[in-house]
């Protein structure tokens, strides 16, 4: 079915098929939370963690659904898992780092509707990864998301200091920068 090594899966998810820049998953937080470096790196970590947890759970639930022969429940059960995982992370962060909790604000519950996470769960099922491969894939995808959002935040902090024509300020310039980043990432094609 697939003959990738674990390293190939990791590099593939991290760079070549970067979730944000080439598969267009998780664009909302990528555009929304990338204005400050600090917040962006924390968001990256939170997403990676949620991805890890939900990937594990999705693997288990998929096995269960196949066993009871109800694949049409896949989507619904995945989204419930992700929502619960996000809730868990939210309670965890609230308890251990109230400052981070405030910094992430509305974007923490919105991780639930981060398509990167549901996309990850769906892709790992579609590709038929086993447990170890799923975990490696989740870590690669999470790392790729963090990498993209941190790169973007770095560029946006620089942008603050430069003179940008008024008309292009806001989302327009961010999208064009993202386009250039995406072209850069195309250079990784053929790495594996």
């Amino acid at each position: 079915m697939h003959t990738e090594s674990l390293g190939a899966i990791f590099v593939n998810a991290l760079l070549i098929n970067n979730f944000v820049l080439s598969a267009f998953l998780g664009i909302c937080p990528f555009l929304g939370v990338s204005s400050k470096f600090e917040t962006a790196s924390r968001m990256g970590m939170a997403v990676t963690f949620v991805m890890f947890v939900s990937s594990l759970c999705a693997y288990g639930v998929n096995a269960l659904l196949l066993w009871i022969n109800a694949p049409y429940l896949q989507l619904i059960s995945y989204i419930v898992i992700i929502a619960s995982a996000v809730q868990l992370v939210e309670m965890f962060i609230k308890k251990f780092s109230p400052a981070l909790f405030r910094a992430l604000g509305i974007f923490l519950p919105l991780i639930t509707t981060n398509c990167a996470i549901l996309g990850l769960a769906l892709f790992q099922t579609a590709k038929g990864y086993n447990l170890i491969e799923s975990i490696v894939y989740a870590l690669g995808a999470g790392g790729g998301f963090a990498l993209a959002i941190i790169l973007m935040a770095g560029i946006r902090e620089e942008l603050e200091l430069t003179t940008v024509p008024d008309v292009i300020k806001g989302t327009a310039i961010v999208l064009i920068v993202a386009g250039i980043l995406s072209m850069t990432f195309m250079g990784f094609a053929g790495l594996v």
């Binding site: 267009f24 998953l25 664009i27 909302c28 509707t113 996470i117 250039i180």
Partner: protein, 212 residues
């Protein structure tokens, strides 16, 4: 193009709910919601149309259900409930598309399932349907859905015609046209949307300048 539009004073409230989604509060261009499908599936016009119709269907059906049940859903679990309602309709849309056209289903891939996490749908459920009656919610959902469809079809037209030299599969420019491959690649999606937003910004600024 540069004449400032004045709103008709007699336009009824219900009609306003519908119209605001098309331009003033367009989910894609103004609210910048639901970006993932906007960027991912707009490489051809056909994909954009299928995606737009599927999203509008889910938006409309979930708006009806959310609006009908808005007084019975406890505040604490509302988001989870909305997500479940949306996921149910997305599963239905997924199976319907698979039954009608397997080719369309394959070219959209996982992005049909990913309608669940389109923030626009949850956003409308939370911001509008949960507070308004069924009729207004339907108008709002239709407006937003059609606004979304128009926006992604616009992107699809630009990307398919420049990136592939075709429109809905028909050749546009003759043999000597060299396709701009970047337009169908991921980078092109960001560029086209960026420049569309730039154009809309410029248009709005000009209008604002003329109004004062």
């Amino acid at each position: 193009m540069s004449t400032p539009t004045t709103l008709e004073p007699a336009a009824s409230r219900t009609m306003d709910e519908f119209l605001k989604g098309l331009w003033k509060e367009n989910p894609v261009f103004v609210q910048v919601l639901g970006m993932c499908p906007v960027l991912a599936v707009t490489n051809t016009v056909m994909n954009s149309v299928v995606m737009g119709v599927a999203t509008t269907f889910v938006l409309l059906m979930s708006a009806i259900i959310v609006s009908l049940t808005r007084n019975w859903i406890p505040k604490q679990v509302r988001i989870a409930t909305y997500i479940l309602v949306i996921a149910t309709f997305v599963t239905m849309a997924d199976y319907i598309i698979k039954a009608v056209s397997l080719a369309a289903h394959q070219s959209l891939g996982a992005f049909i399932s990913l309608i669940v996490v389109n923030c626009m749908i949850l956003g409308r459920a939370e911001a509008f349907s949960s507070k308004n009656g069924v009729k207004d919610s339907i108008m709002d959902a239709m407006g937003m859905g059609i606004g979304f469809t128009l926006a992604i079809v616009m992107l699809g037209i630009v990307r398919e015609s420049l990136g592939n030299g075709t429109l809905l599969g028909f050749a546009l420019f003759g043999d000597r046209f060299e396709p701009w491959v970047i337009m169908v690649l991921p980078g092109g999606a960001f560029f086209v949307l960026g420049f569309l937003l730039l154009g809309i910004n410029a248009l709005n600024r000009r209008r604002a300048a003329e109004a004062t």
